[in-house]
């Protein structure tokens, strides 16, 4: 540890740390421009100069690049320092009068405009872009060219760079926003859509999947992480004060022995772009209900400001379309998605809260508001004229004069209606999460043609499945709203507790048993068994000598499917409960 004094404050700092790091740790703020913690320091801009007043050669040194030394006495805001910064900013302002950050800092430091030759280059030559590209990304797509005042930052021969990855690190790190990577990047800049916000905004390769994620910690998206593309970067590792970044971590299979499984994989939305008449995917102002939900959310891409994707201005007219894909036997899904009527009513209210003078319309087939206070909720929306409800279907949506013309039928008045909307919100059908069929097959539970998981009995065992120990909760089972999902989840949890609170597990008695007398020990049954329940058993006489080897079924492993029994030519295996004599009797009973 090294002891030094910064602004008359005794400070301990690790050897090798810079004055800037030591000061930052001590809560002393030093302005920087050409410094970034992930990039090697250059000491180029000289904004961070501090004055050595004792313990070393007196003078101004850049805090970002000057190492701590025993006994140094540093002043970070001395008259000399401020004068230097003021002049630096005056010079930068002369060079880059348009750079906002320079204007702001110049104002802060009172850098008076001095009569100087003015430039118009936003680049302040701090070189962060060059360093980040070379030292962090490891590509060296941009570099300095020329010397002195003629120095500029460019790609070799001013041509589009072949090595540029399009990562955008240079633009990101540029303090003045002087870089447009499109100038030298041959690839379109890679942006990563933020899945949680339905791709309405973008995210970085390191991200927290969604607000309130548990655990609420960032993760690295390997496919887009520069480190995993080039082997370089590691900026996050350098920055992380907790040293928590570990690039060697890999996805792992976690094996847990559990007594019960609750499947709660939720739902996705039916993709409405199959219906060309609604123009989803073609017209930016046609959005899905979940997109609308994110748009009006305070944690959403616009931090809660509802704007039209096409113009960025609040929509004055919004049309909500119900039953997109739901209740549609032909070319859709036959079932009712159950939640759309209620959330559309909610959306209408939210919309009125955001856009007071806005007008909302709802096209519906039937308003299904079964549930406690649900009907009252919808009635309120209609009564308080938060939305105009039109019973009928929409035939076509087409753009006209910057708006979307929604043409549909109002079956109650028997008229054709056309609404010039600024935004259209579709309420697509609820479908089970992708991959649910694989999961169901893995768990050996049933699912319907739409992929919704099957309960053991629709009335009597609605949270169990046919596989003991596997339970269902929420929309993986059928379209459900939140109260229903919570209720089913609570029920599933109760079932699990009921199962695992016992000392012993009761199993089905229907398992296979081998007739040791007649077993040929061919072990073809072993190959038919999916559970590895069959193995050899030595039969011994009284002296303990092996007299024969026969097949043996482990009753703990056997599930009683009977595949072995069919394979056995000598009929030496019986499944309890489905014994041959029982089945024989059953078959006989079918006869006349």
């Amino acid at each position: 540890m090294i002891n030094l004094t910064i602004d008359n404050q005794q400070i301990e700092a690790e050897e090798g740390k810079t004055l800037l790091a030591a000061a930052t740790l001590a809560g002393i703020d030093i302005p920087t421009l050409c410094y970034h913690p992930a990039v090697p320091s250059a000491g180029a801009c000289r904004i961070c100069v501090v004055e050595i007043t004792g313990g070393g050669q007196p003078g101004l040194v850049p805090a970002c690049a000057y190492p701590v030394q025993e006994g140094l006495e540093i002043q970070t805001e001395s008259e000399r320092v401020v004068a230097s910064r003021r002049m630096t900013l005056a010079l930068m302002l002369a060079r880059s009068p348009g750079a906002t950050i320079i204007q702001e800092m110049a104002q802060e430091y009172g850098a008076e405009p001095v009569p100087m030759d003015k430039g118009d280059d936003d680049c302040i030559m701090c070189g962060l872009c060059v360093r980040v590209c070379q030292d962090v990304i490891g590509q060296s797509a941009v570099c300095f060219e020329g010397r002195g005042h003629e120095r500029k930052i460019t790609t070799p021969y001013d041509k589009q760079s072949e090595v540029c990855l399009g990562c955008g690190a240079c633009a990101f790190i540029c303090p003045t926003g002087a870089i447009d990577p499109a100038d030298y990047c041959p690839h379109p800049l890679e942006t990563i859509p933020n899945d949680f916000n339905c791709g309405l905004d973008t995210r970085t390769p390191i991200h927290i999947p969604f607000p309130q994620a548990v655990p609420n910690k960032p993760l690295i998206d390997r496919e887009n992480c520069i480190h995993f593309i080039t082997g370089g970067c590691e900026a996050c590792k350098q920055i992380c004060p907790a040293d928590a970044i570990d690039f060697d971590m890999t996805d792992e299979y976690v094996t847990e022995k559990v007594g019960a499984i609750v499947v709660a994989t939720g739902y996705e939305l039916f993709n409405p772009d199959v219906y060309a008449e609604y123009g989803y995917g073609r017209y930016p102002d046609v959005v899905t209900s979940i997109e609308f939900e994110r748009m009006v959310s305070a944690s959403g891409p616009t931090t809660g400001e509802l704007v039209r994707p096409s113009t960025g201005k609040p929509p004055k007219t919004v049309v909500f379309l119900q039953c997109i894909g739901s209740r549609r036997e032909q070319g859709g899904l036959p079932y009712c998605s159950k939640i759309c009527c209620m959330y559309t009513a909610k959306h209408a209210i939210l919309y009125k809260h955001k856009v007071h003078d806005g007008q909302a319309f709802v096209f519906y087939m039937d308003v299904r508001s079964g549930g406690k206070n649900y009907e009252q909720f919808v009635r309120r929306v209609i009564k308080e004229q938060m939305a105009t409800y039109l019973r009928g279907r929409v035939a076509k949506i087409f753009p006209s004069d910057g708006k979307l013309i929604v043409r549909g039928a109002d079956t109650l008045s028997g008229t054709q209606v056309e609404i010039a909307a600024e935004m259209v919100v579709l309420a697509p059908a609820m479908v089970p999460a992708a991959g649910i069929r694989n999961l169901a097959q893995t768990l050996r539970i049933g699912y319907d043609e739409h992929g919704f998981l099957l309960e053991a009995h629709p009335k009597l065992r609605p949270v169990e499945t046919n596989t003991a120990g596997v339970f269902l909760a929420g929309a993986c089972h059928s379209p459900k709203d939140i109260p229903d999902s919570v209720a089913q989840a609570s029920a599933a949890a109760s079932k699990v507790l009921g199962l695992i609170s016992h000392q012993t597990l009761t199993r089905e008695p229907t398992i296979g048993i081998v007739d040791e007398e007649t077993c040929n020990a061919c072990f073809e049954c072993e190959g038919a068994c999916a559970y590895g329940a069959i193995g050899p058993k030595e039969l011994k006489d009284r002296k303990g000598e092996v007299t024969a080897v026969v097949a043996y079924i482990n009753e703990g492993l056997c599930q009683g499917c009977g595949a072995c029994a069919v394979t056995c030519r000598s009929k030496s295996i019986e499944v309890q409960g489905y014994r041959d004599d029982q089945l024989f009797a059953a078959i006989n009973a079918t006869g006349r």
Partner: protein, 155 residues
């Protein structure tokens, strides 16, 4: 077609007998769902519940025919959905061979049906039974070898 006395019966009255071996988890549940859904289907079907379609031994089918079944149906989970992972795959392989063997020996393969019906397919079940019943009716009563032999001898 073998002309028998049954053919002279009022065929409208005659109901074929179909023995169905259903797996517990899919097809039996599917049939149950059909019932719960109040779907109707012909009473011609006699259901025998087995844990799995893989538990169906050709012997059961033979015995059913011996016992006078006009058609035998084996129904299980869809491929990949077997409660026991692979029982329906074993069944599929064996019962195909069985059907071929029967056909080779002169038994009309249409009298032996095999189907995938999941627990959610109550409607499919009901429709299936309707269809095969109609087909069985069209095929007429199944004459087991002895009866056929007798008929032939009498001719």
């Amino acid at each position: 077609m073998i002309q028998t006395k049954h053919d002279q019966d009022d065929t409208a009255q005659w109901q074929p007998r179909i023995v169905a071996f259903l797996c517990n988890w899919c097809s039996y549940a599917g049939a149950d769902l059909a019932g719960m859904s109040r779907l109707s289907y012909p009473a011609s079907i006699k259901i025998i519940r087995l844990p799995c379609s893989g538990k169906v031994d050709p012997m059961f089918v033979l015995k059913s025919f011996e016992r006078g079944a006009d058609m035998v149906l084996v129904s299980g989970c869809h491929p990949g959905d077997c409660h026991y992972t692979s029982g329906n795959y074993h069944a599929r392989r064996k019962l195909k061979a069985f059907r071929e063997l029967m056909s080779f020996l002169g038994v009309d393969p249409r009298r032996f049906k095999f189907s995938w019906v999941s627990a959610a397919e109550g409607a499919k079940w009901s429709k299936l039974v309707e269809e095969i019943t109609a087909e069985a009716r069209e095929l007429g009563p199944f004459r087991t070898f002895p009866e056929a032999a007798k008929t032939e001898a009498s001719q």
